[in-house]
């Protein structure tokens, strides 16, 4: 798939290849000039060596810094953010009787993700708790993460002690694996137990006791706070059912392409357009049991709903006010009321088969009005006060949902299966959005689609900051190289003025005079770059030998196993190489004009 990021990259690379090809062709075309240029390197050997060393050092700095920031991005995107929130995340805020942050129908949302997100590597169901943990006389904060059996994490992680499979072995206490740092903080060893205090998703206090069955070598400060257990076990402790998750984290194959991740988030947001919350269920009065579609009107949470309802609903008996003010009120269409022999004031039982449970769900409702059949709905339809749905619908989603067209005149007054929180571009606006949500008086469910550029923008900002710093360093280096090249060339041109005059007199064209000087610099830059790359790798190797032990420092976030982490890529090295060659070439080209434009007669008279 072609993407705008890629096009830009491809253009740059084609440009670089083109440029290097152009140099080769040019060298082949004026072999004599190139040969002289090459041999001229040996003149003023010390000066050229200095310039070469300068360029080589520049190259070393560039290779090392780009590899370091690359390594940082790798830690950031492929290690930290993946475990925090994925590259793309969907979560859900629910407010029915209290605030609960949980996705109730993971399979449904997961399917939408599969259908819309491009380049999915995996979708992870987040099951986790922030715990206060007690080990042997020591306590600390531990992020307990539930991962299902067979999760790639278990496969990819080498333990220092113990065995991952013990997590899933039945034992007195469920097993968990810990990072060594966390184990040290809690003063626990293999086979010790840890007591963890946390809250269920409903906010109740919960205590669990887990046994340490494995220790993972410390890799990164950020991850040193984590412990892992079976998600099945943790779900139970958190009072979550198997189809529920705190969030769905999508790991994509393009972590370093913001455009793609954001485009996917936008596509997913669009695809997650909600239906009306509807149940194909039964209304029961005594022994009469009628199957019908049941929807709910947002009578109290939607300001515009009452006006719309009073305009579109034709009351045969009862009044809209009675309906809106009765929390378990329900409206029946006339044919349905007839079948049920119900009138205003009749008590009915609403019951339906839930999607994820075998037991029927039922709730008491009271008829607060009879209305004429409404266009676009079945003849026999019931409309409940939204509060009825808050009691049953979201907690026990129906196996068979009732559906109605989005174009229906009453659609905007219907309670939707969810609302979508607006997309936000960064963490500041995302945070503001969440704060507003906490202040606001709302009910129902709010689905939120976010990309890592919102959830982790603080960390990404650090990375950006470092990128800017290294970019400035690069600019300074380029400037130094630029001055070095110009100076060296000016000196050479002065010293070789008479030689230039001779060559011009003998019959060398201006552009050949220029080529001699340009290629002297091009060769120098080339050799210096090659040496610089080799030295750069040596420097990285040396730097990654050093051990840093600075817990609690922001910087240590970017250490892997207490060592600096470099990730050189061919792309970055080639790019740097190309840029230095280009700069050298163009500077040399411009400066060599002085030589090419010398008048032969004057040049021949020149004396130092």
């Amino acid at each position: 798939m072609i993407n705008t990021d890629n096009i830009f990259e491809i253009i740059i690379f084609l440009g670089m290849f083109g440029f290097l090809g152009f140099l080769v062709v040019k060298a082949l075309m004026s072999r004599m000039a190139v040969r002289i240029g090459f041999r001229n390197l040996t003149r003023q050997f010390r000066r050229n060596l200095m310039l070469g060393v300068c360029i080589a050092i520049g190259m070393v700095v560039l290779v090392v810094t780009t590899s370091f920031t690359n390594g940082m991005s790798d830690i950031l995107f492929n290690k930290m953010i993946v475990y925090m929130s994925g590259h793309l995340r969907v979560d859900n805020k629910e407010y029915t009787s209290r605030r609960i942050d949980v996705i109730r129908d993971v399979p449904k949302i997961k399917q939408k993700i599969m259908e819309t997100v491009e380049g999915i590597d995996r979708v992870e169901e987040e099951v986790g708790a922030f715990t206060r943990s007690f080990g042997n006389g020591k306590s600390g904060l531990l992020m307990l993460v539930g991962l299902p059996e067979g999760s790639s994490f278990y496969e990819d992680t080498d333990l220092e002690e113990g065995s991952v499979s013990d997590i899933f072995k039945p034992d007195t206490f469920p097993g968990m694996v810990l990072y060594k740092g966390a184990a040290k903080d809690l003063n626990v060893k293999l086979n010790d137990t840890v007591k963890l205090q946390f809250e269920t998703i409903y906010g109740q206090k919960q205590v669990a006791q887990l046994k340490v069955v494995g220790i993972i070598p410390s890799e990164n400060m950020f991850m040193d706070m984590a412990g892992f257990t079976d998600s099945k076990v943790l779900r139970e402790y958190l009072n979550m059912r198997p189809q529920e998750a705190i969030g769905l984290n999508v790991v994509t194959k393009f972590p370093d392409s913001p455009a793609r991740v954001i485009a996917s988030a936008n596509a997913l947001y669009t695809a997650l357009v909600p239906e009306a919350a509807g149940i194909k269920g039964d209304l029961v009065k005594g022994s009469t049991n009628i199957s019908t579609d049941i929807f709910a009107f947002e009578v109290s949470t939607n300001k515009d709903a009452p006006a719309l309802l009073s305009e579109k609903l034709q009351f045969i008996s009862g009044r809209l006010d009675d309906f809106t003010s009765t929390k378990n009120g329900i409206l029946l269409t006339e044919p349905l009321a007839k079948k049920l022999k119900a009138s205003s004031g009749t008590r009915l039982s609403l019951s339906y088969q839930p999607k994820f449970d075998t037991d029927m769900v039922s709730s008491e409702v009271i008829v607060t009005g009879i209305v004429s059949p409404v266009e676009g709905f079945a003849e026999e339809t019931a409309f409940a006060n939204e509060e009825v749905f808050y009691k049953v619908f979201f907690w026990n989603l129906p196996k068979e949902p009732a559906v109605v067209s989005h174009d229906n005149a009453l659609f905007s007054a219907l309670l939707p299966e969810w609302d979508r929180l607006p997309r936000t571009p960064d963490s500041t606006s995302s945070m503001k959005k969440m704060l507003n949500l906490n202040k606001e008086n709302w009910k129902g469910t709010r689905l939120d689609v976010s990309s890592m550029y919102e959830t982790a923008s603080a960390v990404i900002d650090i990375e950006r900051g470092l990128n800017i710093v290294s970019f400035i360093a690069v600019l300074i280096l380029f400037f130094v190289i630029l001055i070095g090249v110009v100076n060296t060339m000016r000196m050479s041109i002065r010293e070789r003025t008479r030689e230039i005059g001779t060559n011009r007199a003998i019959g060398m064209q201006r552009h050949d005079v220029r080529t001699v000087f340009v290629f002297e610099v091009v060769f120098l830059a080339f050799f210096a770059c090659v040496v610089g790359v080799l030295l750069g790798f040596a420097v990285m190797w040396l730097l990654s030998l050093a051990t840093f032990d600075i817990p609690g420092n922001m910087f240590s976030m970017f250490l892997v196993k207490k060592h600096l982490y470099f990730l050189p890529t061919f792309k970055a090295v080639f790019f740097t190489f190309g840029v230095i060659m280009m700069i050298s070439y163009f500077i040399a080209f411009r400066t060599a004009r002085h030589a090419a434009n010398l008048r032969a007669a004057d040049a021949l008279r020149h004396y130092e």
């Binding site: 041999r39 003149r43 019959g507 201006r510 032969a600 007669a601």
Partner: protein
């Protein structure tokens, strides 16, 4: 036919607020195969005149004709080509390219003749032949700094002649050599003048070497006096 014709050639150099009249209306006609010497005191305009004849400097007045063609309006590129194919240069200070060997220095002008499409072997053969003619069989692969002054000037002569030019210009070719060596160089030039039928013009201070010339142009203060 005249290889070179100068007609009322003038050359002015602006020097601060004043103007130096280095050459003031010189007429000159040189025939094919001539061996001409330009003499005159220091500052009389010999080098300037040679530069104008050699198309490395523009006259500020008058006409310069090479093989009958007026070159005063030629572009730099065309003049460069003309020099490459028609004129050879020998300098007082030899002016060899220090990073090239003797052989490479002589090959150099031929390598610049891209349009002539000479093969590597032809180039090599011509350079070797000329170096043999100037007596440098054993110094082919040495660098200029390993050669004596006389040897360097022989290399320069070989380089000037390798393109088979119609004219060779030599500005005080013997001034940096002792008189013995200087005479040998002049003898060599004279030989080549005879063998190759190349026109030679050289400037000098030295009355001793005037005897080689078959024509002498005397100038003084930018004017031809004989």
């Amino acid at each position: 036919m005249n290889v070179i014709e100068l007609e009322k050639v003038e050359k002015d150099y602006p020097l601060g607020a004043t103007t130096v009249h280095a050459v003031r209306g010189v007429d000159l006609a040189i025939k094919e195969g001539d061996f001409i010497s330009i003499v005159g005191p220091s500052g009389s305009g010999k080098t300037t005149l040679l530069n104008i004849i050699g198309c490395i400097d523009h006259a500020t007045g008058g006409a310069v004709r090479i093989h009958g063609e007026d070159v005063t309006t030629y572009s730099d590129k065309k003049l460069t080509d003309l020099r490459l194919h028609t004129i050879g240069f020998i300098f007082q200070t030899f002016n060899l390219i220090p990073v090239l060997t003797t052989l490479e220095n002589v090959e150099f002008p031929l390598l610049l003749m891209k349009k002539a499409n000479l093969s590597k072997k032809e180039i090599r053969d011509r350079a070797v032949k000329l170096l043999e003619e100037v007596g440098l069989n054993d110094q082919m692969n040495q660098r200029p700094f390993e050669l004596s002054g006389g040897q360097r000037q022989r290399v320069a002569i070989a380089r000037a002649l390798v393109t088979k030019p119609a004219i060779v210009l030599a500005d005080e070719p013997t001034a940096n050599l002792d008189s013995d060596t200087g005479e040998k160089i002049l003898t060599l030039m004279k030989e080549l003048n005879v063998i190759e039928k190349t026109t030679f013009i050289f400037s000098t201070h030295d009355p001793d070497i005037l005897k080689y010339a078959n024509g002498v142009v005397k100038i003084k203060d930018g004017l031809r006096v004989s």
